[in-house]
Amino acid sequence: MYLLEHDAKEILAARGIPVPAGRLIERDETIDRLALPPGPWVVKGQIAAGGRGKAGLIRKAATLREITDHVAAVLGATVKGRTVEAVRIEQQVTGAEEAYISLLLDAAAGGVRIILSGRGGVDVEALPAGSIRSDTAVAEAGALASCAERLAAAFDGAKGKALREAGGRLARTFLEHEALLIEINPLFVYPDGQWVAGDAKLITDDNALPRQDALGRLVEARAAAYPDVARKHEHGFDYVVVDPEGEIGLLTTGAGLSMMLIDELRAAGLKPYNFLDIRTGGLRGETRRLTQVLQWIGEGRNVKVLLVNIFAGITDLGEFSRLLVSALAAVPQLKAPVVARLVGNGLPAAREVLAEAGIALYTDLDEALAALRQHLKA
């Protein structure tokens, strides 16, 4: 889960990481002047992607009038396909130098990579190699802390002190919250070595969510900000709207096959609406999951056709088809015609069930796509 900066800072602050005082303002919310920290301020659009500064989502404000103008400009803006639903109004940090620190999962090394730099505020990849200190360590508190301390020793004075201290605290947070990445860029460092996290990027492991209480509570409380994670947390499978304007609803299983199908549809000039890994093995003879997904797909305002693509290694397609037909009947608001492409275990039974329900069944994906195009033209 890629946390919004505001949420990341709340989580970090709770673990003793200093962050500038700030307040979240959501769309349609009025700004309560008394609740704001002392100025000057920075208005920061909250989306889960990098490059917010370049996209104009981070703006300085010296007056309340400027805050109002910036909030109006930033809220609702769309960057990298994401709409800004909230801003964080934060006290500007002044009189500090900038440094950089990150900890990230290094899957290839089987450990955690720590990166420190005496320069901050720009993309770490843009920093000269000589200004970076980096090493990997085993994902254990002692090993990470001593690695951070060793790397920080390369920096003098205030920055050295701040990086050493931040390294130790962030290492503990990384392990406690089972993070995949924590990046503080910039890390503001005052002349006396005090420091504060200017920005915060925190990515946590969705698989660990059931045992990460603070993160679980966050997802439940802010489900609208994390729809994909909240859905998975609640329902146990993956569903992502990839294009709100999409025309093809997808009822698919398997992450890789579903991704490939989206790639191929797009390459053919078609517009898929959603990604889905429904995990047919988890249906357990019930229509609940299918009904839920069909309702979600029904929310797509441009969805004109539903493509079912299932490769059944173990799943019985006969049973799956019966569940599908019942689920479709239970979701009459989804009026899109259905094109089914099924291969594998139990195909003859599936053919009978779908024929009775008037659903076209194909075993060849290209033939299914041709039928799909007919529906899109109609």
């Binding site: 999962l105 899957a107 990849e125 969705d206 992450a255 096959l257 991704m259 059944a312 290694g313």
Partner: protein, 299 residues
């Protein structure tokens, strides 16, 4: 004739006679897949389930722990069909009992658990395939896990895949066209995994049944880039093909596989394709192109 009876991924060789246990055998998946694996030819000799000592599943004895199962059956391999939050403990049990091959289909293993498991397995010099894997197979001989029989046709193509379903589809279409597989390893879609594409490059290079190699990758991580570097480092001389899913996935969004998450310029489709092509790999853009391309080259 394809394929061989056993292969030497590590020592001991793994093959039709290798005794295999199923951890979590009394569960729904454990009962089903212990039966299906036996049907396919795998030498399943028993199972483990902490609360079910003395029971039988599909005529197989059930033990309370791996140590007892190994003592009674001589098991060398285990297929672990247990919950994500129980997987690390079950793996510790297996490694401590001397199991040398661990296959873990479980989806959703916490990444920090996988880091611990990876060190554990390396220190024991064992082989771990997974997590989030449908398993591995020597086509026509044995399977550890649940690769679908329809996709498994014996032949000369080595196959490694991050995705289960996409590999089923690829294997099925290739099999229908007469292109079968030698040794199929689902490495799994998690970022931290037991066996990565690059780890098996020396194995496929030496394996006499394998004439060419197909990898089915995904955006996210650097497994494909690492694999490309390993091909060059090992002077891999057989033809190599690749298919990579997720070309049009948005940045920062997890699509099913925890590993398939792109951050900035890392793990992108373009980076992977470029690295693979620079190492001489033929990268296909679609399933159809892949099937046609491979069939033409193998002929």
């Amino acid at each position: 004739m394809f394929p061989c009876d056993s292969v030497a991924v590590i020592n001991p060789r793994i093959g039709r006679t290798t005794p295999v246990i199923v951890q979590g055998i009394t569960g729904r998946a454990g009962q089903l897949h212990s039966r299906l694996m036996r049907q396919y030819g795998t030498n399943v000799v028993g199972g483990v389930s902490p609360g079910a000592k003395g029971r039988e599943v599909n005529g197989l004895p059930v033990f309370a722990a791996c140590k007892e199962a190994v003592a009674a059956t001589g098991a060398q391999a285990s297929v672990l069909l247990v919950g994500a939050m129980q997987l690390l403990e079950a793996m510790k049990d297996a490694v401590a009992a001397g199991i040398r091959y661990l296959v873990t289909p479980t989806e959703g293993m916490p990444v920090h658990d996988a880091l611990v498991a990876q060190r554990l397995v390396r220190e024991a010099d064992a082989l771990w395939i997974g997590a989030s894997t449908p398993g591995m197979a020597i086509a026509g001989k044995l399977k550890l896990g649940f690769l679908p029989d329809d996709s498994l046709r014996p032949g000369p193509l080595g196959l490694m895949s991050k995705s289960g379903t996409l590999s089923y589809e690829a294997g099925y279409r290739l099999a229908q066209r007469g292109a079968g597989t030698s040794v199929w390893v689902g490495v799994g879609g998690d970022p931290v995994k037991g066996t990565r594409f690059a780890d098996l490059v020396p194995f496929y290079g030496a394996d006499q049944q394998t004439e060419a190699l197909l990898i089915i990758g995904e955006i996210g991580g650097v497994d494909e880039e690492e694999f490309a570097a390993a091909l060059t480092a090992h002077r891999f001389a057989k033809p190599v093909f690749a298919l990579i899913a997720g070309k049009s996935a948005p940045e920062g969004v997890t699509m099913g596989h925890a590993g398939a998450l792109v951050h900035g310029s890392h793990g992108t489709y373009a980076a992977k394709r470029a690295a693979l092509e620079a190492a001489g790999v033929t990268v296909f853009s679609s399933l159809n192109e892949m099937v046609e391309g491979i069939c033409a080259r193998l002929r």
